[in-house]
Symmetry: C2
Subunit: 228 residues, 2 copies
Amino acid sequence: MSQQQSTPDPALTTLVGLAAYTGLAAFGLLAARSVDAPDLAARQTLATAAGEALERQQRLLALVGAPGPDGAAAVMAPFDGALADFDARTTPSGWAEGLLKSVVGLGVARDLCRELAAGLPDGGSAFVGAVGLPVGEPPADDPATALLAEAAAADGVLAARLALWGRRVVGEALGLVPVLLAAHPPLAALAARAREAADDGGASAQAWLVSRLTAEHTRRMDRLGLAA
Amino acid sequence: MSQQQSTPDPALTTLVGLAAYTGLAAFGLLAARSVDAPDLAARQTLATAAGEALERQQRLLALVGAPGPDGAAAVMAPFDGALADFDARTTPSGWAEGLLKSVVGLGVARDLCRELAAGLPDGGSAFVGAVGLPVGEPPADDPATALLAEAAAADGVLAARLALWGRRVVGEALGLVPVLLAAHPPLAALAARAREAADDGGASAQAWLVSRLTAEHTRRMDRLGLAA
């Protein structure tokens, strides 16, 4: 170790920027669903989930030595506004749709970042350590998922509506992947290396990534008890 | 110490209920102002402030052994809806008014709880330890206050509007104090004991409390650079 702090890998910085920006969005969506939740226990549950999303985001920012709000803003800046179209196209009707948007949209974002991390020089171990969840492993005890699964199980009409809504949200979220890879060459390079490391077939890196994210989404909807 | 965990003082449980409920509201207001903040650094700053408000709330809940969302909900239940009128009467126009609402409204709530804590059998030391701030001591480095002071200093028209808005918000917040004391006898009893402990004049407990909160509000507006 030299006396100077080592400069973080530029690809890591870009990936942390994406993960921190979508993590901040996750915080905001979960916090908003805490505010309009139907009862106090759900308010507390979702506030806690929002707080945990923020803690993950802060651990990721620490990986690239981005101290304070200004450091965080500098790392996230390349992605500022990246979710505006997604948000505009997925305005939820009511609390349950809003919560599903946060679970699905930010689930896809988190999966995307974990998949891309496999293309980092260290195979993503530091990144995954900060996120606290290896690729392909579902959150052991995700309270937002549990709340939604409970609401859907109690109301068949709501469950059918949420299943449709989940398809719309995941479609918009997956549609962002090519846009992000095209706009951020370091992410495209990570995708290519992650695809090589996985060594499973001849698909393009982008097609491979979208199919991985789609499979993970199907498992997520299964956990929710909703048809994917 | 008996083998069974000691039952918390009922007055402490009531006070923690009030502090936890208003703390959850503080979290929600700060998080919402993170979502619509004008830039990424302000978004990060306010998300962090919201996360800290939630951590304080969780420390308070731990004081009365209220584990998990259901325990938290049980302690907060007596105050469910207590801020509905306040919220309906203080709908902000724009981000800066919304942020001032959170700083003023929840500043008053926090001051109220710290003042009442002085009426607890232990003089409130455990409560104040969890909140992390003795009565009369301003938050050393409150980022929401700093953001607002900066915005007001840069725009005289905004500063004048915010000064008016601050008076309206504090009026509504102080108007809640008699309502809360009347509806929750343990809080009225705490106010009476806190007033005795302070031993400063012949005012009623309620009048004494409101004058203390008003003085603290004036200092808060001074820190913001706004006319109280």
